[in-house]
Amino acid sequence: MKIRKYLTIFNISLRNAVYYNKNLFGGVIMYTLFIYVFFRLWGVIYSSNTIANYTYSQMIWYVCITEMTSLTIGTTTLYKISQDIKNGDIAYQLGRPYNYLMYVFSNTMGASFVKFCLYILTGGILGTVLVGIPNIESAVMVPYFVLSFVLSIIMQFSMLMTIALSAFFVEESRPFFFIYSKFILMLGTFVPIEFFPSWLQKPLKYLPFSLVTWGPAKIFVAFNISQATNTIMMQTTWAVVLAAICYFVFKKGVRNVHVHGG
């Protein structure tokens, strides 16, 4: 597999995101609004010093990280793929000299990288202004956080791509995107898993929907080496499983494509 062509695709997508930056700024405004609303809301709720072992400052940093993780990849690019499948445009792309899944991955990552840079900058400024510098006890946290974040992006890409590819089999894939995004929001983005009833916490720590946001955010705000190792192992397993499912759905779906020339 020639990696150079995928790096070129990544590069083009990155440049496109920088040049056509209207959507990027829209995203930053939404991110800021979200953090502000939750800063105020948790400010009212936090009458006591800690809730479920999270201080107010940790809670705000937690939301800054989870929201950044889920917004970095977004659903727009991948939703377009399901549209391409529906209207038949995918046939043109399948005939080109690249691996289609790798093409979509490189293309998505280029734009996501720009978004990541913007969100980490905005989140860093917002978190520091609102609740002060995060309390990082050990520098060992940094590589764990970076790895967990990268795995989270791969997991999200695989899940979203599988949903987009479901358009090969169902008439309308939009509700699946809705439901997916709500799972991500509810099971870890808005509130940490530790806020859930105890009977729900254990299964949630193993679910991909919560691992993508809660995983890196928990490592960032309350680092614990054994828990972080456990989280990364779970994320790695899911990343492999989800990528395999995505590949399988793609292979099966492509068989449904009929090209009639034109």
Binding site: V37, E172, F178, M186
Partner: protein
């Protein structure tokens, strides 16, 4: 007499558009139902968030109970739904101005702004409308007072949502493409109407009672449900009517600055 004839004409136009839009959606019945139920489930997930938040906070958050928050959600969701069923095309105003497609609407023998507003609909908005009604029925029961205020709130809320969009998009006449401003303003409106108003302070609190009138969508109706006051009702009605007049005046003043292009468009 002139006002009455104009109002009747506009009402007839909206009724025609509504029937036409609905029948075109019904062509794809399965897709319609999937999108409606998808949106209702989408909204319902937020009940879970508030259940968790009240679980850690206790009975009140900024003076609001769980039931109160559900009222905010029911009104906002249904008002948003009604606005997007009837006037979804409001989101295209900037685009119509920039591309020159506005010419088509200017040539037709009906009032321009109502003609633009009614010319499009959103399928998933039915899900928002129905969700609000079902949520209110489940959480608040069948009290006549609550339902009268709810129905009024949904209608006025739909008007306010639409007028805020008209005002924001009209800026395109003055400063160029204001699409992003409009979508940001609209997102702010939605976000501020589904959270307790007391969590906001300072400039934001002033904004939600003035330029971004989220308080007039959901918070004031809730205040009326809990403690009815004829003065508050009068202020609410006056504000909605005032906002409606302001948005129309602003649009028609802006329209004077519009320069037509040579674009030829066919409306099918």
């Amino acid at each position: 007499m002139f006002m009455y004839t104009e109002a009747k004409k506009i009402l007839r136009l909206f009724t025609r558009y509504f029937k036409l839009n609905l029948s075109s959606q019904m062509e794809y019945r399965a897709s319609f139902l999937v999108q409606v139920f998808g949106m209702a489930i989408n909204n319902a997930t937020f009940i879970f968030f508030w259940w968790l938040a009240f679980g850690v906070a206790g009975e009140y958050i900024a003076g609001y109970t769980f039931k109160d928050i559900m009222f905010l959600w029911a009104v906002t969701s249904s008002a948003f739904g009604l606005a997007h069923i009837l006037f979804y095309n409001v989101h295209r105003i900037s685009n119509l101005i920039i591309t020159g497609e506005l010419d088509t609407f200017l040539l037709q023998p009906v009032p321009v702004l109502p003609n633009i507003l009614g010319a499009g609909t959103s399928v998933s908005a039915w899900g928002d409308l129905v969700y609000g009604v079902v949520l209110l029925a489940i959480v608040w029961g069948l009290s006549a007072k609550v339902w009268i205020i709810f129905v009024l709130a949904v209608m006025l809320g739909a008007v306010i949502f639409t007028c805020v969009n008209i005002l924001a998009h009209t800026l395109t006449f003055y400063i160029g493409n204001a699409e992003m401003i409009a979508s940001t303003v609209f997102e702010f409106m939605i976000s501020f109407s589904i959270y307790p108003d007391k969590i906001f302070s300072g400039i934001v609190r002033i904004l939600i009672y003035s330029l971004l009138p989220a308080a007039f969508i959901s918070h004031i109706p809730l205040r009326l449900v809990k403690d009815f006051n004829i003065g508050t009702l009068a202020i609410w009605l006056a504000f909605a009517i005032g906002f409606l007049v302001l948005s129309f005046v602003f649009f028609y003043r802006g329209l004077r600055k519009y320069e037509s292009g040579n674009l030829i468009v066919t409306r099918m």
